[in-house]
Each structure stands twice: as structure tokens, then as C-alpha cells.
Amino acid sequence: MHKTSPEIGGMGHSIKRKEDLRFTQGKGNYVDDIHLPGMVYGHLVRSPYAHARLKSVNAEKAKALPGVLAIITGEDLAKAGLSWMPTLSGDKQMVLATGKVLFQSQEVAFVVAEDQYTAADAAELVEVDYEELPVLVDPHKALDPKAPILRDDRDDKTNHIFHWEVGDKQATDKTFKDAPVKAKVDAIFQRCHPAPLETCGCVADFNRATERLTLYLTSQAPHAHRTLFALVGGIPEQNIRVVSPDIGGGFGNKVPIYPGYVCAVVASLTLGVPVKWMETRSENLQSTGFARDYHMTAEIAADNSGKVKALRVKTLADHGAFNAAAQPTKFPAGIFSICTGSYDFPTAFCEVDGVYTNKAPGGIAYRCSFRITEAAYLIERAVDVLAGELKMDPAELRRKNFIAPKQFPYKSALGWTYDSGDYEAAMNKALKMVSYEELRKEQAEKRKKGELMGIGISSFTEAVGAGPAHTFDIVGIKMFDSCEIRIHPTGKAICRMGTKSQGQGHETTYAQIVAQELGIPATDVMVEEGDTDTAPYGLGTYASRSTPTSGAATAIAAKKIRDKARKIAAFLLEASEEDLEWEPGKFFVKGAPSKAKTIQEIAFAAYTNVPPGLEAGLEAVNYYDPPNLTFPFGTYICVVDIDKGTGEIKVRRFVAVDDCGNIINPMIVEGQIHGGLTEGLAIAFMQLIDYDENGNVQGGTFMDYLLPTAVETPNWETDKTCTPSPHHPFGAKGIGESPNVGSPAAFVNAVVDALSHLGVKHIDMPITPWKVWNILKENGITA
């Protein structure tokens, strides 16, 4: 790969993020910044009950409030066949409730008024008569014969959604039967929420004259959403334009279609004016896509030397009232079967059962490739439990079982083909950075003095960039992604993408790929995303897929342009194409570097002096279907000190060595790692969307659902190794989710390690000081 100059700013340059100029000056343009002439406002009436029969909705008082324009109920939508909508996971979900409500905060009616305050006041006046029904909160009781059946709309009168299994059950069971060493852990990856800074919302603008619907939407996947609105709403697809403007964080929360969007569209269709609907913070936490809620058991069979022989995983997945996860069609439990992790398991068996409960729907992939965070957490916890059984150092046990570099491409026991990796190199680097041996000595000395200190390792493997069309689709749409590049006559460029940044820095990184391939300075490349009228079709941004898919499409489209540029250069230089050599930014005649044409000169000629027989213009489009996922990895090491008196956990050090293959912008990669680690810290220690026995949400405000701030966040020490992906056009792998996927296990392993001498083998997240203090108290430990 050519090294470009800092002026060009291709791959490997830490150029500053182009989008930050507007973000840091308050000049971003988010959905809630959009104000259209004549725009009115919607507000949702929500259920206070987790499970209740809906007897009547009386909107008379609300309608009488001056300024109220319309009130839409589930019965109104039912007349138009719109009271239910399909989810991205093949289930259906109520838009507005009819018959009964299934979770607290479920959408019951949509009030439209001239201003948002009137809409909110009117929503208070809507009188709804409910009859409470028995509530199902605990997923472990969902299949109990006495459990209330929640979804009486389904033919199957059961709370069971799916059973999914993969692997060789017989061989696994047999290995376990004969194994001398077994380790087992029951671990809950708790229900948490991405809580993006910007909540979900939209402005629906239906123009009765043109019959066009413009939908400004907090969408991570604008094209897929356009198609779904066309299929479900019956609006011709050419008459729908979805625009995702600046998005203030998504993390999977903005992948599903929410009832509020549909209500705003219906209201705009009905009233003929633009309708804005924006969630409040509590609405976001209580009703839109939550993440995780996986109740898992992992068992490892090993020999006496610590060599792993088999993995057996059984999981109960709580999907809430509707299966509104956004999984690829063939994967009801996502990529959870990556749970063999970085280790060479000869055989494995994994099964997942999904159930309904009276909780908010979701199961979205929070900064995660479809359940991979759950899988990585589980295997990294289980390996530590095995180390405890064997009384073996957890680093040594990992080293003994890593898939070796020479085994790649590696076919895992559960069917995945890992592209490349060098797990030991990443772990060795992290161990050295943290001075592991010294830390273990320090820990032994501290233990003698009764002080509590722990070291936690997580050597995770990721699988990102969904995905190959032969395996991955969402509601039938294959998971390719795209890029269209146009070079203007003056040599500047515009790139349009099928993906959609939510803060990841796409406007900078895609420009750098173009700079790398064409030598046009990254500052001269405008990147545009999120407008379905202009961008090529794509599946959007989540699952760390932008670089593996659209990034690849950008490189390939740029190469097509370079091929045409070569023809134009040959014409201009009166040389044959074969006699030309390329260096970033120009073609020159071999052996005569002064005989050269810059990409800018070539671009100008493409419009002013077109070679005979060649089409005018200089542009290309590529739809990239990756041959495989990419498999980033890394080792994270966390060091904690625990206060014996309060149970408070202090993260003393956190070392993160990531390998995401070739890097486009090191600064942006580091920023992604910092952000992901901070989210991982919050999940490990602070966050839980809890429900009481009546199904009342106990994590529905920022008073109960805690966000990490600079105060809680330790100093992140980052470094990298580089193992390029062999199948990606420029060897990149994707980084966005690695730190969130890999870090929870490191935090938990560290705390458990600090308490392991007390017989502690596992603590479920979030590990609050309260939990630790209770463990200390049970063991008679005081300050």
C-alpha cells in the first residue's frame, strides 16, 4: 500500500474529524432541529400497566382542548390495517394497542396538537380504562404451565418464541461424560439500554400535491426503513424519501422501526401537514430497543493440563413483549454461536430459547454484532472459572488454548470461519504493558495483609461486518453495502454511502479511503450519507459493518475510477496504459516522472477533453458483498482495588490492546476504543433496566439508569497489534464494537479475581458497591 503525504491524508493519518467543526460549534442538524412550515407535534399516550386488557379509550376531553388536531387510537389504525407492524425479526408488534397492553409504557394513543406542550397536556386527558391481568416478569417462569400466555394474537399459545441450536450435541455430551475437569458458570448479561444522547424521533412530511412522503428519521438504516415503509404502508417506494440527518448516537437503538414513527406518518397522511414526534428520555429508556437480557450457562470440559475439550452453552433469552430484535433472518440468536471465542474447542454445542415477558420489546445489538457481546462475555467468564478450577493462571490457561496463527483460516466447532488472528501476540503485549508478573506478586503480598486487589483478563474475538449475502439478510434484504463516488471537473469529489454515521466519523474515514486510492486530498472529498434519494442502497451502520462493507465498496469504486483515469492519462500523455505508473495523486510515464498528469488534470479532462470512444465523466459505484465476516480481536486487562469498608471498586489501570487489521485513522480508532470501554465500564458496574414484580420499570430515568461521566472513567491505556484481514480490500476489520464486546468480562474478571480467595466464582453485572459490600460482609471482612 502506498504511503500518502499528510496533505493527501490517506490511510494511517490521524487527520482531524471533518464533522467535528460543526458538532463542536453547535451547528449539527439533528431531527429535532428540523422545523418545517406548518409543522405540528405528536405525543404518545402510554400504558401504565405491564399486562392489562384495554377496555376503552376515551379521547373526548383531550379532543376538546384548544390546539388539539387529532387523536389516533389502536382502533383507528386497525381500520386501516395498521394497528400491527412487522418487526425486523419476523414477529409483529402493536403500533397502538388494541385488545390488551403487554408492557409498561406501551403505545396506546397518539395525540397531535399545534405545539408539543398542548400535545403533552392533551395526552394526560386521554382516559383509558384497563383491566389488570397477571404479569409475567421472570423469563424463567415464562414456560411454566401456570404462566399467563401473553401473545394471544399468535396461533401458538405459548410464551416460547424460538429454539435455536448449533453444534454437535452428542459429541459434546460424550466429551463431558469422560472429562476429568469441568467448569460451569451461570451468568446473566443483564438488560441494559444504549441510551444514545439523542433520543429517537422523526418528522413525517406528506405532501398531498406530490403524494411524496419525506421522513426525517433517527435511523441507522435509512434505505431498509424506506423499503419497509413501502412494503407495510403501501406507499410507492419512489414516493418515500427517508433522510437521516446528523444522528446523536445510535448503538443499535436506532435500527428498529418504532410505533412513534408510524403514528407520525399516519398523522401526516391524515392531516396533510408535517408532524414531528420526539421521545422524551424516559420514553427512550422504557420503550425503545433494550439490549442483552441473556440468561446463560456455560460449561467447559478440559483435561488435567488445562487443554479445553468441549463447550456446552444453554441460554434463555428474554425478548420482552414482542420479538423486536434486529437479527439477520437465519440467526434468531444472532452470532451468539461465536461463543467458543479465541479458543480451539474440538467440539461444542450451543442452544438458545427465546421467550416473551411483560417487558419492553427489543434485544437489539448494542454496539455489538448481534449477541456477540453476550457470547464474548460468557466465554471469557467461563475460561476464568476454569482457571479457578485448575488453580492455573488465567493468562497461562488462555495461552494454552488459543487458536494458533498457523490454524487460520480457522473453522470453529460451531461453524464460523475466522479470517486471521494472532491472539497470543495481543495478549503478550497487554501483559507486558500492565507488568502482569509484578501485579501478581503485589496481589499475593496484599492478600497477606488482607487487602483486596484483582486482575482481570479478557482475550476476546469479534466477528463483524455482516455480512456475506449467502448467509446474512435482514427481512430478506442481503447485507451488502455500497458507495458511489463522483469526481467533479475540478478534481474534488463527493462520496455517497449506503451506511449512516451516528458519530463514528464517516465523513473523515471514507474520505481517507478515497484519498488513499485516488490521491485526492481527504479535505477535498465530501462524504454524504443518509438521504435515500441520493445515496446508493445499503443496509446502514451497526455491527461494526461500515468499514468492512462500505469501506470496501469505497476502495473498489475508487479503483474503478482509477482504471478510467489511467485511460484518460494515457490519452493526455500520448502513452500506452501499460507504460503508466501510479503514485497517489498522479499517473506518470515509466522512467520519465516529469511526464505526469495529476488526478485533478485527469478529472478536468474527463469533462473537457474526453478521449475518443470513452464516456464522459468520472464516477463509479460499487455494491460490496463481503466474502466473509472479519474477526477483530484483542486482550484487555483490568486492575481493580476494592475498598473493604464500602465495597467500592476502583479501576486502577485498564490496558487495551486491539487488533482491527489495517487502520484508516488511528485517532478515530482510539476514540472509538475510549467510547466503547466507557460504555463497557457502565454496563459492568452501573447499568440495569430492572422491573419490579408488577412489571414497573425501575430503570426508566437517568436517576436510576446511570451514565458514566469523566468522574467514573479511568485512564484508558491503548495499544495495538496489526493482523490484516486477508479478504478485505485494504485489510481492515472494524473496531467500533470491540471495546464494548471485550471489556465487560475484563472488569468482572478483575472483581471476581480480587474476591476469589473467598470462594467467589461469579458476580452478575452490574457489580455495584452494594453487591460487593454484601459479599464482604458475608465473609466477615470489614475495614
Partner: protein, 187 residues
Amino acid sequence: MAIKIEKTFQVKEPIEKVWSLLSDPYKVVTCVQGAQITEQIDDRNYKGSIRVKVGPSVTDYKGEIQIVHLDQEAYEIEILGKGQDVRGKGSASMKMTGKLRALEDGGTEVTSISELNVVGILAQMGARVITEVSNIMFEKFTSNFRQQLQASETAGGEASQTHAPEPISGVSVAMSALKAAFTREKK
């Protein structure tokens, strides 16, 4: 969300007099701020309402009150109240057990165990706030109860039931609850 509040307080009035107040739903209800009995169905069942205002959220519960257990000899009463918010914001039920014990000095000890179960908007406010709101409500009840005892003395046994019920003071309850929540040790 279930909350159990157990309180004991002492009054100087004799047990018979306290019992006549505690065992009369019409009188007891006036001690609960914002509550009123709207209809008597039979000697054990009544209809009533209570308005609770916490911060910006007003909840008007309408429902039924049932005397589940009344033991004249043991001075024990168990009352079950169940209500739904008229605008469909949620429901609440409360089982209150009251028990009296005569004290040597001629006064009476009142023990009350309330089990409150809240569903809906109020319950979302988090256990800390709702527990504090309940505590404040109960303190109000206690002071009203004492006042009723004294009032019945001066007014010749008939408590005034004519005044319209005031809702439990909104902002002040919310503020005291929040303050209590923030200043308590967090679990």
C-alpha cells in the same frame, strides 16, 4: 412495586376512644389527605377516591375500600383499598392493618402495618422516591389522626367531614421525597 411500612405511635386518649375513630371508615379516611369516601355499599364495603400529586404528576385513584377484618375484642382492623387512576395512569392497592394496645398511663399505642402496591407512573419514579412519598403520607396520617382525636373531644365526637379533600401537597411532597432520596445512602 410493593412497599411495607410499619409504624407505631402513641396517643394519650384511651383505647375505646381511639378505637371508635380507627374502626369508623368515614373518620379514618379524613385522616388520609386527599382521600374521601363517596359511597357506602354495605357495612363492610365503600367506594372512595384519593388524589396524589407528586411533582407534576397527579393521580386520581377511584376504587373500593373493604373492611376485611374487624375484631372489636382484640382492637384489630384490616382494611383493603384498591383503586385505579381515572385517566388510566395506574393503580394502587393498600392493605392496612391497625392494632391498638392500652397503655398503663391510660393512653393508647397504635400499630399500623401498611402494604402498598403501586403500578404505573408513580411506580416508575423509583423505589427511593415512592418510599419517601409513602413515609410522608403516613406522617401526615399520624398527625391528622391525632388532630381528629382532639377535634372529636372539642366538637363533641363528630369530626368534620364536610370540607373538600385537599390533594396531598404536590411540590412539597416531591421535594421532600427527592431530598430524602438524595441524602440517603444509596443501595
